[in-house]
Structure formats: structure tokens, C-alpha cells
Assembly symmetry: C2
Homo-oligomer: 295 residues x 2
Amino acid sequence: MRFDLKLYVNEKRKLIEDFINHYFNPAINPSILHDSVLYSLTAGGKRLRPILCIAAYEACRGKENIVPYATALEFIHTYSLIHDDLPAMDNDDLRRGKPTNHKVFGEAIAILAGDGLLTEAFSALSNTSYANVSPKTLLKVISEVSNAAGLRGMVAGQALDLISEGKEPDRETVEFIHFQKTAALIRASVKAGALLAETTEERVSCLEKYGESIGLAFQIVDDILDIEGTTEEMGKPKGSDLERGKMTYPRVFGIEESRKKAKELVERAIELLSIFDEKAEPLREIARYIIKRTS
Amino acid sequence: MRFDLKLYVNEKRKLIEDFINHYFNPAINPSILHDSVLYSLTAGGKRLRPILCIAAYEACRGKENIVPYATALEFIHTYSLIHDDLPAMDNDDLRRGKPTNHKVFGEAIAILAGDGLLTEAFSALSNTSYANVSPKTLLKVISEVSNAAGLRGMVAGQALDLISEGKEPDRETVEFIHFQKTAALIRASVKAGALLAETTEERVSCLEKYGESIGLAFQIVDDILDIEGTTEEMGKPKGSDLERGKMTYPRVFGIEESRKKAKELVERAIELLSIFDEKAEPLREIARYIIKRTS
């Protein structure tokens, strides 16, 4: 029987969403802050980062329920979307087909909801009661995730993305932005799963490189979809990157070359999993899924 | 010889500022992000939170250099100031007598500098190479700090503060705001020092309560200074809380009652240190200093 990615993703998504509901019960006070946080957390995201974390953990045959730690990655991803959409940043009115957080709750609450989600990620990752994982391992995960998300990671990528708008695109800049803004957190999500499983260094290293490859592929595909996708697929008007003069992969390399690059990255990612058995099938299928979005 | 608080504070401040310089070398890329972060981190803050952390650690006779962990608290405090000053929040043009971060670097970079500083705090706290502190202890510190700063702590306090502007002040609301917005992180700073020293539960508990008391006193004094202080003392125009209809302690209880309350809190804080020897003298003097600002 062939592995069914859709079934797998739906099952994990349910666990992640159950944990989100558990985490925010009792509700946050004031209630507008609670509503703002939950609005973005339950806006229909793919849960790619926590699912990658769980899939990497399972590929290493980990036995604990590490969903709470995986969900912390979704907190960070969601915070980054809320802040990226702000008027001072990308000034987006729509996200996944719904009004963006600040459109519904106002800028102040949106900023605070993002700040709070980022902070809660580290609260969840430092909670030793969720699973039987050693403090040393949890610290490694926190270190990995905070470095990926911080001033030499995602935040740097977003800053360079913003200040590069309208400039002549060049290879070095677009690669820095893709790597820091998108790939770093995806890589850290996969690596976090491997670290939580307390597996061998070799396996951690292969999974880390797998994460980096699919992270870069994911962003290239996103760039392609901004040009070729429909508004329905994107949840926001297509061409918005182009309109803003964003530093995208297709602008530097063209659509065909971008498609080829994404395909190569996904192939390499799957190769990197060769030392893993059938427990890594979800990771292989996720890699294939990324490229399918654009073919 | 009497303990000299000024000397003590200057000595610690130097260590904290040396660590800040060390931490941001090599520089962050892009450079505007680096400059924005350093601008606010070196804008002449009192360094109250990291100094409290170090002083609590020393009161428990800890022997390691925990300045890097203490400085993480300054990262969090600085992020909160940058975000609080944003146009969508308190919309302040001046902070410590200088233009606020977004006035110099623009809103987008100010938001990202705050996000990055918050994230880096957890990177620093999860770095086991800084001192010989057990992973279990560092996790406890991360848990404490993230809970104090998160959606049930500082962020909640700031949200309630904002949505309460212009409303009729009431005791319950002003106490929630003071506690969450200011006291929670100050309490966590002191408790972090005690946890890092791996001292007895009794000592941790006394220091935690000490931190809460001086944290509340500190905010009440701030409210009083907004009415009675000079622009020079405050680094921003006085009366700005009043003008905005902020929920302050004096508005609920009057100036005299507020002054009395702050004094009581400081006395209680010093009492809580009775089980400590002369190594707690810095903590006692810091408590006395807080009340001196308004007498």
C-alpha cells in the first residue's frame, strides 16, 4: 500500500490543532489579544513546519509525543506572517483568502499578537512536562530555532527583503533572502525533530541538509506561483511580488531556470534521505509535494 | 565602609555593555538592522533588569559569570520599548531624550529590530558555552522569562494598557497592567538570577517576591514621575500618560496614596531579604533607590 500524504498530513494537523486549543485554554486576557492570536493560528495554514518536525522525529523512530514542541514552530511561523503583513512591512490586506490580522484587530494588537506568539514558542519549547526529552536536548532545540528565527536568520532575511524592494535583482541578494527568510526556519524545524529524537549526528546532519534543500525549493516555488498561480491558489492577488519589485528567484534566473532549480533541490533532498528506511516516507512525499505545486 | 550603589551599577553596566558589543560582533547583515538594534541597546538605559539578575545571583553566592544570561533580559526590555514606541502603539517620538527607533530607522526596521532582539534573548539563554550552568537550570530560566514576557505576561499588560486608554480608571485594571506590563519581567529578572545560582527554594521564593514588590513600586514611581517629574528626568515630555488617558496608579489612588504604596512595597521588598547576608546589599540599595526617585 502506497503512503498517503493527505491522510498523514490531516492526522498530524489534527494533533497540532488540538494542542493549539489546549494551549490557549483558559483564554488569554484581554480577549481581543486572545482572538487576534487564535484568528491567525487557525486561519488554515498548511502546518508545514510542525509536520516536518514530527516527520523528521518519526523518521528517526522517536517514541514520544513531541507535538507541543513541533507546534512551537507554527507559533513562530504565524508571528512572522502577522508582522510581515503589517502596513509598515508588506502592507497586505489578504492572507490565505482572509483579511490580515491587523485589518481585523488593528495594528497595535497585531504587533502584540506576533510578539506574544514568538515568546510563547520559547515557553512551549522550555516546558519539560510535555514529553520525556532531556533538558540538554530541549536547549539545543531552542538554540537552533532562535538562531534560525533571529537577527542572523529570518529577521535578517525579512529586513533585506524589504530594503531590496525596487532594486536591480542579483543572485547573492536573492539567495541570502531565500535562505534566511524561508529556508532557515524550515531547516530548523526538520533539525528540531531530529534533535528531539536524540539520533546520531549523521542522521541529524542529513535531515538538516534535507530541510535546507526543501526550504529553498519551497521559496522558489512560492516565487513562481506569484507569477503563475491563481489568486485562489495563493489566497492573495498574484503578481504582488512583481508589483513591489521584490527580489525573487524568477526575476534573477527566469521561470524555466527557477523550475529546474526547485526540481534539483527536491531531488537532492530525497537523496539525502537514502540512509533512512520507510519511516522517512512522509519526508520524501513532502519533498515531492513541494515541487508538484508548480508543475 | 558603606556599600556604594553607583560604583556597583557602573561596574555591572560595563560588563553588560561589553557583552552587548561582543554579541553583535561580527555585525548583523543588513547593516541598517544592526544599527537599529545597537541604537536602542546603547541608548543609555539603566540596565535595571540585568543588574537585578546579577545582584540576585550574587546574593545567593553564585560563582560563575552569568552576565550573558542577564543581558538577555535587557534584550527583551529593549525590544518592548522599541515596539511600545511605535506609531500604532504609544506613538512616542522621544525615548531617553533621543528620537525613538522608528523615527530614525523607520517603522519596518524598528519592528524587525524588536522581533530580533526578543528572539536573540532566547538564543543567549540557550547558549551553554557562556557559563557552567546546568541545562535544566537554563530551561527553568527560559520558561520563567518567556512566561513573564508572553501572552499571559508583559504582552497582555501592554495590550490592556492600550485598550484601556481614555477609560474610567479602576483598581483591578491598573493593578493587572502594572503587574503584567512591568512587574512580571522585573520579577523574572530577579528570579532568573536566583535560579542560575541553583540556590534553595526558600531563597528563590523570597527573591521572586522581592522582585515583584520592587517591580510594582517601580511602575508606581514611573506613574508619579509622569505627573511630577521634569522632561529632563523622564527623557520625554511629562504628562504624556495623563494626556493619553492612561490607566495610572495616581489616577486611581491619588499622588499621596501612590507614594505611600510605593514606599510600603519597597519596605516589604527589603524585609523579604532578611534571610540574606551582606551579599544582598546591592538588592537592598536598588530597592531604596527606586523610592528615592520620587521623594
